[in-house]
Assembly symmetry: C2
Homo-oligomer: 372 residues x 2
């Protein structure tokens, strides 16, 4: 992975990340393609319509179905999905933790049961890397020890200690594998933990950033804490992260969250919000959210957002989308997902342009003004 | 509507129908867009990917939701859906008959209850035309009296008599409306009934074809009778239909049904089979049907049909589609529907080319040979 810091505006950054499969200009939003597909869209949509440079896929889901060995046999993620740009895969730890009825972390890893068939599995730092070698993702996330917030000091201490130990194990394992010719073009990111406690975040960031990872993520946020607590934690943590490597805030968030955290020095985001909200009828616009289900759109012949030039807004009216939603037509899900993802991708693109021009603050003011 | 008979090969015909919105070359298959959308696809898919010239939409569904008045206010079907080619709308009678818990035909029309909210409605010959004027379809079907097969002679007699009376009422009403400037560019088709009884089909065909309709349909088939009985009925009925007007076989059918009925002089078809089967995992190929759910496709890196050049086959493997189906991904429905509709549209296109060259019999032999 090649990394270049193209511009800094305050703490906001515009970077270029070059993987073996694509050039990613940050700030970037990564659409979530849980099962090697972004829900309701195909990889041609991602490439030709949305022009995404990177998609996130979930290690937990692909390990269980169709199985990482299967994906490997079919040409890894790029061959299987025919998406020839970049993939980031998570470690699977978060899903093992949140989707499984029974999951339990110990010193070696996380035991969990499949949400599909109840079968028992064990994720360790090396196991989740082996799965990700099979998936062939451009960026792999290491296993970390997650904590539900609020958490006790004891639990947070355990979490950051274990996360650091697993990180050491991961980077050692990965560099060994690479010297054996495995995962040579795959990059590895560590995940800073510590809840919303400054001291724990500092310890976690310093211990992880001392290791030779290709990039660093902030994990364990957007799990129910106040927005301001999230922003403060990011603001406090980013100064401990290297300037010459990508910074990824996991699982975040709303359009406001993106703008606030770009301002605080984050380069990469992912979230199910644009696609999940689309399916539930919530559409993002420059002037805020609308609910397309609303009866007030039944005769509204204007596009979702008159300022939007997405596939859906160029073609269809609110009235037609309102009808498709109410008639429970599958078509609705694709059109709404295309719009919401376009909104997110366009937002980070505009943020980048503002940073390059040194106008991020004006961009941020305009972003909030349009919503009022 | 302008009609040209381009070629005849045996009884098989290649025609050109020019509506106010598109040029339709027959034999043609009309994808079913029940609620003003072909399930899982958008109208851009229909135009740019499948290049369809005509879509069928259901009067019953659109009358109930979003309401034909609403569609009218939003620019009729073409403005509402942004599909600028042709629409055919059925009369709504079949759905009133099949979807309603309670439906009852009398001399004046059909009373039924909405399958959505149980509300009571009454379709008459003029009412269903009024609805279709609001929808603005290029081809309107008149209300006919449907019979479930097998039926008694008495019920069949009543059906064809009533159908003829309603047809007279419909054509008179339509020509009056047109002289008032309503539905000027809208065409009207009558529907021949009579079950699988030759004498009744003859009476129905002769009495309807004596009237000034723009085209004629054969209705009341593909309702559970043997395939051969359907083919025989069509073969017997088409000679009573005018040579210089379109012939439409409603609700038919399998690829074999299309080939057999094209041979017997049918120009137009519609059926939910390609899209419904797609959603259930059944995909059509030149060598027959396959079920994409099957475990044998899990590691199959070839396209659905190596002979197919559809959007899906050019991009994705059976293994990926098998995975998307099993993971219940919405994306699957669009990719499978695009393939199956491409198969149907390509089949009738190849049939037309064969007819133009006087090689329909060779085409038919090849069609069956590939499947064995």
């Amino acid at each position: 992975m090649k990394f270049n810091l193209d511009a800094i505006d305050g703490n906001a950054r515009a970077c270029t990340i070059q993987t073996a499969h694509s050039t990613i200009q940050t700030p970037i939003f990564m659409p979530v393609g849980t099962s090697a597909v972004v829900k309701a869209l195909d990889t041609n949509d991602m490439r030709e319509i949305l022009d995404t440079q990177i998609i996130l896929a979930n290690t937990y889901h692909l390990y269980l179905r169709p199985g990482d060995e299967t994906v490997n046999k079919l040409g890894k993620l790029h061959g299987f999905t025919k998406y020839d740009r970049s993939f980031l895969t998570d470690s699977g730890g978060f899903q093992a933790f949140s989707l499984s009825d029974i999951s339990k972390a110990d010193e070696k890893g996380i035991m969990f049961r499949s949400h599909i068939d109840g079968s028992k599995h064990y994720f360790t730092p090396s196991k989740v890397l082996d799965i990700q070698y099979n998936l062939g993702s451009d960026i792999m996330m290491i296993l970390d020890d997650l904590v539900a917030l609020p958490a006790t000091k004891e639990r947070l201490t355990l979490s950051i200690d274990r996360t650091t130990r697993w990180a050491k194990e991961s980077i050692t394992y990965h560099r060994e594998k690479q010297s054996d010719g495995i995962g040579v073009n795959q990059n590895i990111f560590a995940i800073i933990q510590g809840g919303i406690d400054k001291e724990f975040r500092k310890i976690s960031a310093e211990s992880l950033c001392a290791m030779d990872f290709d990039g660093f993520a902030i994990g364990g946020l957007s799990v129910g804490e106040e927005n301001q607590a999230m922003y403060d934690t990011v603001e406090f943590t980013t100064p401990f992260m290297p300037k010459d490597k990508p910074r990824y805030l996991m699982g975040v968030g709303t359009p406001e969250d993106l703008v606030e955290n770009i301002e605080r020095g984050i380069d990469m985001f992912d979230c199910v919000m644009p696609t999940r909200n689309a399916r539930n009828g919530t559409l993002f616009t420059t002037f805020g959210k609308i609910n397309i289900k609303s009866a007030r759109f039944k005769l509204d012949d204007t596009p979702i957002d008159p300022a939007c030039d997405c596939y859906t807004c160029k073609r269809y009216s609110r009235a037609y989308l309102n009808h498709l939603y109410r008639a429970k037509e599958l078509t609705y899900f694709r059109l709404a997902s295309l719009h919401n993802l376009h909104y997110y991708l366009n937002l980070v693109k505009e943020a980048r342009e503002a940073i390059l021009k040194g106008e991020f603050q004006a961009f941020k003011r305009e972003f909030y003004n349009r919503r009022n």
